[in-house]
């Protein structure tokens, strides 16, 4: 067992997956976790910050645009640059990380301009990362999405760098792992569903791993992501 990992779930006005994230890591995976109010500056003590899904500031203007000016974000770079500190941004959390420049690229409206909530399949592109080491390379995970702006966009150069440096964590695929246009529900560049920063201590992903934690909810595949991180931190 050993010592528990300390997660902090950052709560913005309009976050709504905060409680689900807390439940996933604290109640299902038995780790330490607590909420962090967006005006708090006290984030040093956590091993991993979770930026949960939802509609911070209503997603008004652009999703994530206003949240990134919160107090809690003032020390985020410092946090991210420290050793053995991790950040996971899920859905709106991912959007905030993009707006804050912690990850490259931008989210556009889904190609069909509609909110999409459903189970999707994503393939693990790189399994040698803090967030995916419990997965097989090429493993297909069944995890739900729920977003209106999840159409990941970046310029060619950024994309090439992401590919060349293996910073793409997940891509939308069909049930057999084929990367098809049909599986690309929101129109993302290169079917991208999740990416990491250069240092590989920040992960942003549109699918909600915290919603795929128990069989009754339809899948347990989300656990692999949290467990990978817990595994990684414990080993290092």
């Amino acid at each position: 067992m050993g010592k528990k990992i300390k997660f902090g779930v950052v709560v913005f006005p309009g976050s709504n997956c905060d409680a689900d994230c807390l439940w996933a890591v604290r109640d299902i995976l038995n780790q330490d976790a607590e909420f962090i109010w967006h005006e708090s500056k006290n984030i040093k003590k956590y091993d991993c910050l979770i930026f949960p899904g939802g509609f911070s500031y209503g997603d008004y203007l652009r999703s994530g645009a206003i949240a990134r000016f919160s107090k809690v974000m003032e020390s985020i770079n410092e946090f991210a640059n420290k050793k053995n500190k991790f950040i996971i941004g899920i859905c709106n959390g991912f959007q905030i990380l993009l707006e804050a420049g912690l990850l490259p690229g931008t989210m556009l409206h889904n190609k069909n301009l509609k909110f999409i909530c459903e189970y999707v399949n994503v393939i693990v592109e790189n399994n040698e990362t803090p967030f995916t080491n419990k997965c097989e390379k090429g493993q297909v995970l069944k995890i739900p999405v729920a977003h209106g702006e999840g159409n990941y966009f970046c310029d060619e150069r950024t994309l090439n760098t992401l590919i060349a440096t293996e910073k793409i964590a997940f891509r939308y695929c069909d049930i057999n792992g084929n990367i098809t246009d049909e599986a690309n529900i929101n129109g993302s560049v290169y079917n991208i569903a999740g990416i990491m920063n250069t240092k590989e201590n920040i992960l942003g992903m549109m699918p909600h791993p915290e919603r795929a934690m128990i069989k009754d909810l339809g899948s347990e595949d989300g656990k692999l992501i949290w467990e990978s991180l817990i595994n990684y931190i414990k080993k290092s």
Binding site: D59, Y60, K114, C117, D216
Partner: protein, 753 residues
């Protein structure tokens, strides 16, 4: 300051939807002429929407008590007990008129309103359901309304973070001019922290929280109580814009205030805004209120008392706290980026008294506005007259030709709008947030887990307006019965329900007859099923000069699944090789069916009969079978009959990434083959069991006097139905590819959403 003492002319009365007699009563109540502010207040509070003046006597027929009922009708929402330390609060509400005019904002604000009704009780909303009715799907108008309404509901519910877990969508010409948008919310409340809308304690401050007051929807209440005419359509100021982000902040702030025990009473400002919330809160507490218009936070310049009192700006709440707690209240609101403003106080005198610039501009006895027992209250003693159309409404079954090609009938039905898959609707709703949705949309009812308790909630909204149109009493019964049946298909015991009564103009005796009979039918079924009514809403005047909608009562049922194991079932086939069992009987009933409408172009009765004893027994059989882990899947037979139910069992699982599973069915029966396949005989279900459990299921069924017939086996990728008659020449065989039929099912509605 404006002069409010204007001459009250007939013209002004008409504009305020006040009848001459009603005005005379106002004169008697006040002992003087009202000013225009007071007239506006009366007009709003005596509108059908706020006063229930036509419906109240009829609504008394509903059973409202029972061992589970903690809070019955009369509050912002009803609450039922769970046996644990929590209660379940729920209510349904209509937003038909606003949605007809402006589908996106209308539907969105509808969701907002019903969410506030729930969290104002101290309950955290855990689920939303929606019940929608539109006209002909082939018209531009319907497509426009459908898209707007669905995206509006999605916009609001998704942002606030409450999953929209189930609903129903029905298309019929009668709704062409008046779409129906009913939304229901379910919340969970700690029983010790239930809050009510009461203004107790003279001297206590009345505080305002939430969005600023604008000129939105002034006259909204009387607007919702008038038929939709050309001219009304133009009164677009009645449209309010939704701000779900504000709602989310209000929700969290309100629950925190209640959790910290800082407030005495709270209510949202819904129809007739500040006027109704303050007067109703005073009425419930036996007090009065004083409000200073100058203190009300306003969005626009130069708003006068009339406008402020009648504004229906969204996302606002009114609360009463203990004197001295104002600072603490303000502090919590500030945390959420909001303000609390003291705008008045509770007074002992039972008056609704409004000040503007230091002068009294309205002074009305509270009871006159809120108490239906008050002698001058405009309660209507309407009488119903049986509508002429009911005289000749039933077919003779022998006049209906049995189609030759049953496969194409099945294909046509599966892609018809009322049966086709609605996944592009609920895919736009976040139905998974809060990580409790164990049964996602696409089954008879949604199942919502309650974490840390041996409890789950199953819920469904239902109401077949066509049945009610063809037979108001039976149709009313059917709405209750089907909602309960849907819930029991999950393995849940139906406990209580909320209802939204959507009808035409109640002043029309024929419409009133429909209303009264439908309520009687619902009440009768509710008593027998032991499922009391704990909340509801009435929406009248759903008509245009051309026609009225079908009388459409909508039932939102809530049931419990209890026990450590939390056993529940979904509607679709789970494994290959399971035994398929039909529970219930086969009768020659095709009246009122989708089959009769889609294939024979007839909207005629008779509506299928309901034997409530048998219905209860069917539900018991399913609940017991699921609880004992004998029944693997359960789906009731409703729209489209046995054949459609079978197709749905085969394919609906594939919506959530499971495999579609075919079936081989043998039916032995000598009744008309169309009635056999497509008749909508009530009190039936298709369940699956393992071969070794078949006998156990039969025992449970026979104990409950329910016929259980083994009709086939799951497996393969085709649905094959063999119909075996004693006389071979009538025997029939349907053989359909599952993928092909799924495509048809998926296309009927989805491409329009």
């Amino acid at each position: 300051m404006q002069n409010y003492n204007v001459e009250i002319t007939d013209e002004i009365l008409k504009e305020h939807n006040l009848k001459k007699e009603e005005y005379e009563n106002i004169l008697k109540i006040l002992g003087r002429k009202p000013n225009i502010v007071e007239l506006g207040v009366f007009s709003a509070m005596w509108s059908e929407h706020c006063s229930y003046k036509h419906s109240k006597p009829v609504l008394k027929k509903f059973p409202t008590k029972g061992k589970y009922v903690l809070q019955g009708p009369g509050e912002n929402a009803g609450i039922i007990d769970t046996g644990f330390d929590i209660g379940v609060a729920f209510k349904i509400e209509s937003h038909n008129h606003p949605s007809s005019v402006e589908p996106f904002q209308g539907a969105a604000t509808g969701v907002g309103g019903i969410l506030r009704d729930i969290f104002t009780m101290g309950a955290r909303p855990v689920a939303i359901l929606d019940s929608l009715r539109f006209g002909n799907l082939n018209t531009f108008k319907t497509q426009h309304l459908l898209k707007g309404v669905v995206s509006g509901i999605a916009f609001y519910g998704n942002c606030v973070g409450v999953p929209t877990v189930a609903g129903e969508t029905f298309f019929e010409d009668a709704y062409q001019d008046n779409c129906l948008v009913n939304a229901m919310t379910i919340g969970i409340v700690n029983k010790k922290k239930i809050k009510k809308g009461i203004a107790k304690g003279p001297g206590n401050p009345v505080m305002y929280i939430g969005a600023l007051t604008g000129r939105d929807g002034i006259h909204g209440a009387s607007f919702a109580s008038a038929e939709l005419t050309e001219e009304n359509q133009k009164r677009r100021s009645s449209v309010q814009v939704a701000d779900p982000f504000m709602e989310k902040l209000l929700l969290e702030a309100t629950l925190e205030l209640i959790d910290k025990n800082l407030i005495i009473g709270i209510q949202d400002m819904g129809a007739a805004g500040l006027t109704s919330s303050s007067s109703e809160m005073a009425y419930r507490a036996g007090t009065g209120v004083e409000i200073d218009i100058d203190k009300v936070p306003k969005r626009e310049l130069n708003m006068n008392a009339y406008e402020v009192l009648l504004s229906e700006s969204q996302e606002r709440m009114l609360l009463v706290c203990k004197k001295g707690n104002e600072k603490k209240v303000e502090k919590i609101l500030k945390k959420w980026g909001l303000h609390a403003v003291k705008i008045g106080r509770v007074i002992k005198e039972q008056q609704f008294r409004i000040y503007e610039k230091g002068k009294i501009v309205a002074d009305i006895p509270v009871r006159a506005l809120t108490d239906s027992n008050y002698k001058y209250f405009p309660l209507k003693k309407q009488k119903g007259v049986k509508p002429a159309y009911l005289k000749d409404i039933n077919i003779k079954i022998d006049d209906i030709k049995i189609p030759e090609d049953l496969e194409s009938v099945l294909k046509k039905l599966i892609s018809s709008p009322n049966i086709a898959c609605k996944s592009n609707i609920w895919r736009q709703y976040d139905h998974m947030v809060q990580t409790n949705t164990f049964t996602l949309p696409g089954s008879d009812s949604a199942v919502i887990n309650i974490k840390d308790k041996d409890l789950m909630i199953a819920t469904s909204v239902d109401g077949n307006g066509r049945y009610v149109y063809l037979d108001p009493f039976l149709g009313g019964m059917a709405a209750v019965v089907e909602a309960a049946r849907n819930v029991s298909m999950s393995g849940a015991q139906p406990v209580a329900f909320t209802n939204c009564l959507n009808f035409g103009n109640p002043e029309d005796p024929e419409i009133f007859y429909q209303f009264k009979k439908a309520v009687e039918g619902m009440a009768y079924a509710a008593k027998k099923l032991n499922t009391p009514v704990i909340s509801g809403n009435v929406s009248f005047y759903n008509e245009s000069p051309e026609n009225a909608i079908y009388p459409t009562p909508v039932v939102g049922m809530v049931g419990y699944i209890k026990g450590k194991n939390k056993r529940y079932a979904k509607q679709y086939f789970k494994n290959e090789g399971d035994i398929i069992v039909l529970l219930g009987e086969i009768k020659e009933e095709i009246g009122a069916s989708e089959y009769l409408k889609e294939i024979h172009n007839l909207i005629k009765g008779p509506v299928p009969a309901i034997d409530l004893k048998r219905e209860i027994n069917l539900q018991k059989t399913c609940v017991e079978g699921i609880k004992k882990e004998i029944i693997i899947s359960a789906h009731d037979i409703s729209k489209g009959g046995l054949a459609i139910a079978l197709v749905e069992c085969c394919i609906s699982g594939s919506l959530h990434g499971n495999k579609a599973i075919g079936a081989y069915i043998e039916l032995q029966s000598d009744i008309r083959v169309d009635a056999l396949l497509f008749g909508e005989t009530q009190s039936r279900a298709i369940v699956t069991v393992k071969r070794e459990n078949l006998l156990k299921l039969k025992r449970i069924a026979s104990k409950n006097k329910i016929i259980a017939t083994e009709i086939g086996k799951t497996g393969g990728n085709r649905l094959i139905i063999n119909i075996d008659w004693a006389s071979k020449k009538y025997s029939k065989k349907l053989n359909i590819d599952i993928d092909e039929i799924k495509k048809l099912w998926m296309s009927g509605v989805n491409e329009y959403v």
